[in-house]
């Protein structure tokens, strides 16, 4: 069986990153924006793992980094969702366009 070349993998991760960025800029629902950020972070995870496996298999740096990124992404999502719930209580909406009290 032939091995999948690294460029294919990199294509997936890069595409995922920019899909996430596109989603972050175009979506108006806060939860969806959070999901878009999650996509970007996961593309980073894929990057770390494939670089580790294909280029530097003798050390585990990339894998370790991935574990930390996953953990911190979870913490970040927890705080973000708590903030969004609190915002929903006062604004009755989670659309970013509705949250515009701070514009002068």
């Amino acid at each position: 069986m032939t091995e999948i070349p690294i460029s294919h993998m990199l294509f997936v991760s890069t595409a995922l990153f920019f899909i996430g960025m596109y989603g972050f800029f175009t979506r108006r629902n806060m939860i969806t924006m959070l999901m878009a950020i999650e996509l970007m972070l996961n593309s980073v995870n894929i990057n770390f793992v494939i670089f580790n496996k294909y280029l530097y298999p003798e050390k585990m740096d990339g894998i370790f980094f991935t574990i930390f990124v996953i953990t911190i992404a979870a913490a970040e999502a927890a705080v973000a969702i708590a903030i969004i719930i609190n915002l929903y209580r006062s604004h009755q909406s989670i659309d970013v366009e509705e949250a515009d009290n701070l514009k002068n």
């Binding site: 950020i37 972070l41 593309s43 740096d61 370790f64 973000a80 903030i83 915002l87 701070l102």
Partner: protein
Amino acid sequence: MTDQLIDFFLLMKSELLLLAVIFIMLFMNITAKENADGTPVDNNHSILVTANILLLLNFLAGFFMNTSGNLFGDSFTSTELTAFQKNILNLGTLLVSLQSYTWLKTHKHVMEFYMLLLATLLGMFLMISSQHMLLFYLGLELSTIPLAALVNFDLEKKKSAEAAMKMIMMSAFSSALLLFGISLFYGTMGTLHFQEIPAALNGSDLQLYCLILLIAAFGFKISAVPFHFWTADVYEGAPVPVTSYLSVISKGSILFVMTTVLYNVFAGMGVEWYLIICVLAVATMITGNIFAVRQQNLKRLLAFSSIAQVGFILVGMSGQNTEGAVSVTYFIIIYIFSNLAALGVISVVSALTGKEKISDYKGFYKTNPMLSWILAIALFSLAGIPPTSGFFGKFFLLLAGAGNGNYTLVIIAALNMIVSLYYYLKIVKAVFMDANEEPIPTINLAFFPKAGLLICLIGIIVTGLASGSYNYIQELFASL
């Protein structure tokens, strides 16, 4: 074995002391007596006194027993310089804590405030000491995620919730950019150790792309233009003490790290990042000033003025010599004193009267002469008028910037300083000259905010006139 253990404790002294403070306060929270309705018995006074004393002790302990060395497979370093930088942040946190007394006195969740605040400080300490991208990333996240919760600390306020939402979205986005940059760096170099990166830099296009992503992530955190959109909203929506913490301590710590990373780790790509920093500096100064001129809300004005100040700091950073690093550190100390004095006055007024507009401050001098003078001196220092220390800070920044021979940049910076005088003096004029039918009533300051403001005032005057302070920082950098 014992020697190693003692070494370990001494090297991680600042972090461990801070952890001790956090745990002491956590246990106080458990044992605190409460009324039937859940409010503390004596209106938070004893908690606040203990917190401030602990922070003061923490700051004083930062002067002693500082040793140099590395830990955790060389991914954590402690030197005289990092100890000094951490202690600057300690002092700033103490000042913020002193000034938040008026606001926290009646607040229900005072303990949570300190937990979150000190957790972010711990993150900054780790970040300053980090010698590995992983530790750097962990410190960065530890210093931003709790901050978003702090911004939302007035839970019932609509603006607070909105500001927190913007902050967490922006910080998550910027850390995603940072991580993407780091992951590609890992791909090109196979190491993320700060000491091994310089040898592995080859200046390829991919590495340049990573560097741009990295600087963009830094730009988000220090709110350099064009990554500044969240700043004004977050500063306006957050409670004032949190605003001061964000604009001074959080920004200062990132600038410390940014200087170290750019000067030591990416010295090999100096030509590339020099250009980026120059563009950022010009855009940041001009945009910050233009927007600050239009503002009517005092917090928003100071938010944009703090963006402009970052522009000046970037001018110093573009110097690419030891003076650049020294002047950035020196200016951050001065900036901590000046901005905390200005925001401290606003914090007290906002906590007691809820007024934050410039027009509300008309006739402020008639009713509160002492606070007016502090506000005026702080604003003069921010504008950079001698003999306040702000002048010396800006002078050294521009001198460092000129050291690289880019005089256009220095001239633009000097012109921007003149523009910034307009909006700072606009506040001073409202405070001292304009008449007002209903001025802000006379404020009786409690002991803690008064002490905090006086320390800031002394700092503003002494840091500039005592030239030893600049030389001391220079020696610290030379000893590396």
